[in-house]
Homo-oligomer: 573 residues x 2
């Protein structure tokens, strides 16, 4: 970065103000003439001649015609930018590295499903092949990332039963996050899902549909993972000669052994863990959702992501860290491409506007990209539990328009699954984490039409494909949230208005900053609701919006600058 | 800064949660015993013996009594902090310098006046001696800094007339910021104010009253300043052989020449300008209000403040920079002790809460100390012009309770001077910048009693003497602003409620975070209005407050934790 004092630029800036105010004196022009003459001494012959002519005009012409030259000649400014004096140039003395991620790092729509629940056979165990059959539907809904929870063999020792019970019955399938058994570990696939070839076929079929497969990388082991016997030094022993299982007191995860990153054998451990990523990269995967990165050392992630991206710069890492903001921010700085956020628990107008402003504006937005999830297999929020189908519609609309990247834990979300394991729990009843679920994806209750429509709107409107121009606008109504996104040239402006109350209709006056949108204050403009396809003619910054949750969670207005057809007026009349 | 992994601390943290949940197993205790035994091997003999006893208890005692040791023995935690393992210690590799300012940098009340307007003679020119006579009144009002606009000889060339007219009449006194004439420059005093000895007498008399004199340092010259003839190289010449006067097009300041900081003679210029500060330090001054620092180079200020404070660390510099936030913040980082702010133009509840939160919380509050001014000789805001006496009371209450440091341009503020030079102007009519004013300080309209009371409250309540614990609280009413400040131990909690509307009475429910104040949710507590001396018994976090601008601009409540006397109840009954 270079900077310098630009005396001509300063003079020009001041002159424009002097000309506007009609207070130009001859001496003001002489000062500019000096700068131009001086530049002419360094310019190439042709430009030098032109600069001399202009300097002469400033010297001798009538003040008015000299002023016309100053404000009316873009060539003057251009040549002076080339040849003008650069006084006191300084160079920023740090060398900054710039990483350029691919577009999907910024704009992506994720769909999560458990492959084992995809069997068409009502008693079967779903397979990668079954999953291939679902791809056209997922594509039709508009998702471009299909994220699978761990696909590896599931431990049998201390396997959890349905609803996280301690004792599994023989037919219980266990948690995919309890990775590893005598059938293999992090580089194997669970036999009931299919073979490695089946998985590669899924990756290939997905690519054909424009969908990428994202794998879940959970660096932890079931007690019967092959690593436990081969590398006891990677785990922490206890005084009773057992191995320390995962704990977040008082919660215990007896089916999971964490790695001991304080082991003296850490260099081997790090290399092995990285080789897991490289193995799946070889199978065609380029997106990884990393489980609980905040419980592993920062330098490990910096090294792993850094060295992997050196060879495969297109690799995307999503950090699943629900922890202190500083820690989440640090992980983003270390190299994670995207981050889960607190979005799921931000419900009110105040919470959403302040949190999303924090995430997307100011410093945090410069290194952290939020990926907004209204639900996950671990998170069924109170809002979703109590708000009915409308609550799901509201949260979908928010996630997909507030975040250029968002995701849903798909079947449960589409079908508005809202039953918690017990009151005050955010766990699902009969959670897919511990059992196979049979989803009736053709149900009339499904949100599929809304999801499809919203994803199409996202694809057609570049304003929704970025987060840096998210702005919130006053509504003076606690249940009505209004915000906009726009492209830099204001060619695409999307104003979203959401009724945050899933139970009642509300209306409010929304206040739009027409000036920031490049709209004249005194001309009507059209807003086109991309959800309902209705069009309205609005006047001025303050306009009335009503919403009924029985009809739609809100509006996604595209602002159209000019009235294009007579039909637009018909709507107004 | 050192950091390390503390395995015992982690274990203790988890054990407390296990004990609460009743899920302790023997192996959990054995893990702790190992840490304690290991620490015992490094401890001095007496502590080692104690640690062995405790380790033994964890090994062999009943689980319940072992748990009692874990949670009930503070000595265990203390000894383990001394002797326990510090795994993977790291040292923060940067050396950070810490500057400690004196208390007045954080807590100060400024009063600005023009000495020339202090004469008791209705036709006289005020002097330093006249000013000495006012000190007891200023002291009685509770101010501890008396800030004087420039006290130097005033230029005669291009002197401005009353109300900033271009032509001065022979008896016009000119602007004190047009510094320098044949009577001297920045190291001289204006003869009509008195002699240098008179000034030193003022500094001494003020000190006697507990007041410090702050001088205005404006690095600029009248055309007849001695520097202009002695050092033409410090000014910028124009092609017509005149010197460039100050301009902010289209505004022109023909009575002022700025220094040319781009001069090749900058080392001499810098040294001379610093010698001005050192000269006034020799005369006993330790507080300087710096005029327009943002129009001079950053490195100049860093060097000037750094080198002056090396010898006189008690010196306070207040930056008068009304410019982009980044620039104001940079000046604070470079060394300015206090900064003017945008407070004067923040009127609504939203503006005040968001701006003051930005200033006092988060990063900015770590290096920048705002000094809040409701008015200055340059700033008569629309709010003050249109709100009558009540508007002045509101702005005073806000400045003095939102800011640990605040100031008023005194006589004009006390007397609620609200006439602008012309509509839409923030300039005063008959501004003291260009003429002598006769203030009737004994007027019944004076705000002196309120000022006196508020400054006494500030002195008696340490919560108001700092900004880092400023918090805003919900009122759900646009005209009612509520905020609190508290000491770290919550021994002094001040809740201020302000009616921002100077025209009408308003009431609202204010919502206080009792938990943050260390107050039990279900016990009544007393709020003592330090402005009216009324006492109220409140219950819970939500309480009703009414305010009428004809009586008072708001309330300054001190929260009293316990009901101390029966009299308190009488107020309630």
């Amino acid at each position: 970065v270079r900077a310098w004092v630009d005396p001509f630029g300063t003079w020009l800036h001041d002159m424009r103000k002097r000309i506007d105010a009609g207070v130009v004196e001859r001496v003001d022009l002489l000062i500019g003439a000096e700068f131009i003459e001086q530049a002419g001494q360094h310019a190439d012959p042709q430009d030098a001649e032109q600069l001399r002519v202009w300097a002469n005009t400033l010297h001798h012409a009538q003040i008015e015609s000299a002023c016309r030259l100053v404000i009316g000649e873009p060539e003057l400014e251009r040549l002076m930018r080339i040849w003008g004096e650069r006084r006191f140039p300084v160079l920023y003395d740090k060398t900054l590295r710039v990483r350029v991620d691919r577009e999907k790092a910024r704009f992506s729509a994720w769909y999560e499903l458990f492959v084992r629940s995809t069997s068409p056979d009502p008693h079967g165990h779903g397979t990668f092949r079954d999953c291939i059959a679902l791809l056209p539907d997922i594509k039709a809904m508009g998702f471009d990332v299909l994220y699978l929870p761990p696909i590896h063999p599931i431990g049998r020792v201390n396997r959890k039963g349905k609803n996280n019970t301690l004792k599994a019955r023989p037919d219980d399938v266990g948690s995919p996050w309890a990775i590893g058994s005598d059938e293999g570990g992090h580089k194997s696939v669970h036999p009931q899902l299919g073979t490695l070839e089946d998985f590669r076929a899924l990756v290939e079929a997905a690519r054909h549909e424009g969908i990428e497969i994202a794998l879940d990388i959970a660096y932890q082991c079931a007690p019967d993972h092959p690593y436990v016997r081969a590398h006891p030094e990677w785990f922490r022993g206890r005084p009773d000669n057992t191995i320390q299982y995962a704990e977040n007191p008082p919660k215990k995860y007896e089916d999971i052994y964490p790695f001991d990153f304080e082991t003296e054998a850490w260099p081997e451990l790090w290399r092995e863990l990285r080789s897991v990523i490289l193995y799946w990269i070889e199978q065609g995967v380029r997106i990884f959702r990393i489980d609980n990165p905040h419980t592993k050392p920062f330098p490990f992630w910096e090294w792993l992501i850094g060295t992997v991206q050196e060879h495969y710069p297109e690799t995307i890492f999503l950090a699943e860290a629900f922890t202190w903001p500083k820690i989440m921010q640090r992980l983003a700085k270390l190299g994670f491409t995207q981050s889960y956020t607190y979005f799921a628990w931000r419900n009110t107008s105040y919470e959403l506007s302040s949190y999303l402003t924090e995430l997307t504006q100011g410093e945090v937005g410069q290194y952290m990209r939020g990926n907004l999830w209204p639900n996950t297999p671990d998170i069924l929020t109170e809002y979703l539990q109590t708000g009915g189908r409308s609550a799901f519609a509201v949260r979908l609309l928010l996630a997909a328009t507030l975040g250029a990247s968002y995701g849903i834990y798909g079947p449960a979300f589409e079908l508005c699954e809202d039953r918690p394991r017990e009151p005050f729990s955010e766990e699902y009843l009969d959670s897919e984490k511990y059992q196979i679920r049979r989803w009736d994806l053709k149900s009339r209750r499904s949100l599929r039409p809304l999801i499809t429509r919203i994803n199409r709107i996202r694809h057609e409107n570049p304003a929704l494909q970025r987060d840096d121009r998210l702005r919130f606008h006053a509504t003076h109504h606690d249940h009505v949230l209004c915000y906009s996104k726009a492209t830099d040239d204001n060619d695409n402006i999307i104003v979203t208005v959401v009724n945050l109350d899933p139970h009642h209709a509300h209306s409010a006056w929304v206040h739009l900053p027409l000036h920031a949108f490049g709209l004249p204050e005194h001309e009507p403009y059209q807003v086109h609701d991309l959800l309902s396809d209705a069009r309205y003619i609005w006047h001025g910054g303050r306009n009335y919006v009503g919403m009924d949750p029985r009809a739609a969670p809100g509006h996604i207005f595209r602002i159209r600058r000019r009235l294009r057809t007579e039909r637009d007026f018909e709507y107004y009349l």
